[in-house]
Every structure is written in C-alpha cells, then in structure tokens.
C-alpha cells in the first residue's frame, strides 16, 4: 500500500538532514563532497546487507556479466519495484545502467529546474550498488548522472587488482 512512499520520504529526509548538518559546520567549501560520501557510505552498508539476503537462495554467478544482470533484474526490482531498462558494457569492466524512471526521482518535476539537485538524491543509490558489488567480491567505483528527469544513468567501473 503505502510501503513505497515510506522509503521515499525517509530518503528525502536523510538527504535533507545530511546537508543541513554540514551547512552548520565551518568548512563550507568541502560541504558538497562530504555529504555525498556520507550518503554513499550509508548506501554501501545497506547494499551489503541486502545482497546477502537476496543471494541466499541463488546459485553462484558464472561471471561479472551474470552478476550485473542479476543486479539489474532481481536486485533492482526487489528494491525499486522495476528493472533497469538498459544495461550497456564495454566488456572491459565498465557498465552503464540506465533507469528511465528512477523511483527516487519521480517525485521531482520533469523539467530542468531541479537538475542540479538531482545528484544528491542519487548518492545513496550509488552506495547501494557499490555495497552490493563489494560483498559479491567486486570492488567498483559508481557514479551517477542525470540529463533528463526522471531517467538517470549509473556508471559502474570494476576495479581489477
């Protein structure tokens, strides 16, 4: 019923709180970066726990691509109630996940007005992806970009040691 709305509201408040905390401290110039890393770190820990729960009953993954497909289909649909719309890869460790109607951005108006604010709301989800991958054995760097609301792209670069 109202279950989806619960998380959306909580997420909005988390972002607002983290930014408000930061604004009251002195180093304003570092404000943006630390907020994003705080949100990312939160998402990371949540991602680790969630992936443990979701992969409990799945067989082992064949390779990285199999893993990303799992992320795009099962993981995404359990959390955001829909799958990733488009997955592209260069087969060398870089993947781009495109979601045309990202659940946490649908409440924003679709014009250009809030384009600058959007990345704040994507930091947590970037951390979520990073945490999920890290628990599956892949270190990665995840960034997000928005060019047209409410669709967004997550770029995942796997760090090979």
């Amino acid at each position: 019923m109202a279950d989806d709305a619960l998380f959306e509201f909580l997420h909005m408040e988390i972002v607002a709180l983290v930014y408000k905390e930061q604004a009251t401290r002195e180093d304003i110039d570092k404000e943006r970066v630390t907020c994003v890393s705080t949100l990312d770190a939160m998402g990371f820990r949540v991602g680790q726990g969630m992936i443990e729960r979701f992969t409990k009953d799945c067989p082992t993954f064949k390779d990285d691509l199999d893993l990303m497909k799992f992320l795009c289909k099962d993981f995404w649909s359990t959390i955001f109630k829909k799958q990733i719309d488009n997955l592209r890869t260069n087969h060398q460790g870089t993947y781009v996940l495109q979601d045309n109607k990202f659940a946490l951005l649908t409440q924003f108006s679709s014009g250009k007005q809030y384009l600058e604010e959007a990345p704040k709301y994507l930091a947590f989800s970037c951390g979520l992806i990073r945490g999920a991958l890290s628990n599956l054995g892949l270190e990665s760097v995840v960034t997000a970009e928005v060019s047209l609301m409410p669709s967004c792209k997550f770029q995942v670069v796997i760090q090979k040691l």
Binding site: G49, I51, R53, P59, T60, D63
Partner: protein, 137 residues
C-alpha cells in the same frame, strides 16, 4: 564437532567447537579444508553451468572426521567438522544445518551494529549455533 565461518579473504569470523579440548586439531582440519573449498570454487567456472549450488558437500574424509563445506555468493565459507563415528547425520541434515547457518548469518549481516569483517559476537547467533551443535553431537 566444530563449526567455522571464514570471510572472503579466508580469515575466521566465527569458530565454535564441542568439546573444547583438542580444539587445535579442529582448527588445523578446518584450515586445510579451506584449500579444498577454494579448489571447488575455482573449478566452477571451468565446469558446466549445472554445478552452481552453494552446498559443496563432503570435502574430504579423514580417519576420524568428516568435513563439509558451503559457500555463499558473498564468498563467505562455512565449514562443519563432525565425528566419523556419528553416522546418524545424513546429507540432508547437514544441508539443513548449513541453511540455518546461512539464515542466521544473513541476520547478523543485516544488523546495523555489525561491521562486515569483524568477528561475530552476536548472542542470538551463538545460541542458534549451540542448539545446532548439541543436536549434531
């Protein structure tokens, strides 16, 4: 009998033995069995896609003990060592023990006060493991 949980990088997150004398021998057995686990995991990629279960089965039998292994998707390994004299434990029971372990482990993982990679100190987890070991011995 002993139960051991090791992380991705093969350091122990949780070790529990009954009886507690002769613990060192159990630790040693678990340590050597980790090699067998690694071998089984890396073999999966080359083998066909059908053998992709999490349960690894009997790793190897020594004269006194039987060692069973299980790997999660997050590369956390569970190892159970039981007496060979205890023939009442069938494969299915071992599988259900591993399932229970995995379920409890997932709960520990989702605990916000737990940092992945730390030794597991949850009392609830301890009590579940104790009941399981008492049943097995």
């Amino acid at each position: 009998a002993e139960i051991c949980i090791t992380s991705m990088d093969n350091y122990p997150l949780y070790i529990r033995s009954i009886p507690t004398q002769g613990e060192l021998k159990f630790h040693y057995t678990v340590h050597t069995s980790l090699d067998v686990v690694e071998e089984k995991i890396s073999g999966v990629g080359k083998a066909l896609a059908d053998q992709r279960e999490l349960y690894l089965g009997l790793l190897y039998p020594t004269e006194d003990y039987k060692v069973y292994g299980y790997v999660t998707n997050s590369k956390v390994k569970f190892v159970i060592v039981v007496d060979s004299s205890n023939t009442s434990l069938r494969d299915n029971e071992i599988r259900s023990m591993f399932r229970k372990l995995h379920n409890s482990f997932t709960d520990v993982m989702c605990n916000p006060f737990y940092n992945p990679g730390d030794p597991i100190q949850s009392k609830a987890f301890d009590s579940i493991v104790s009941t399981m070991m008492v049943q097995a011995c």
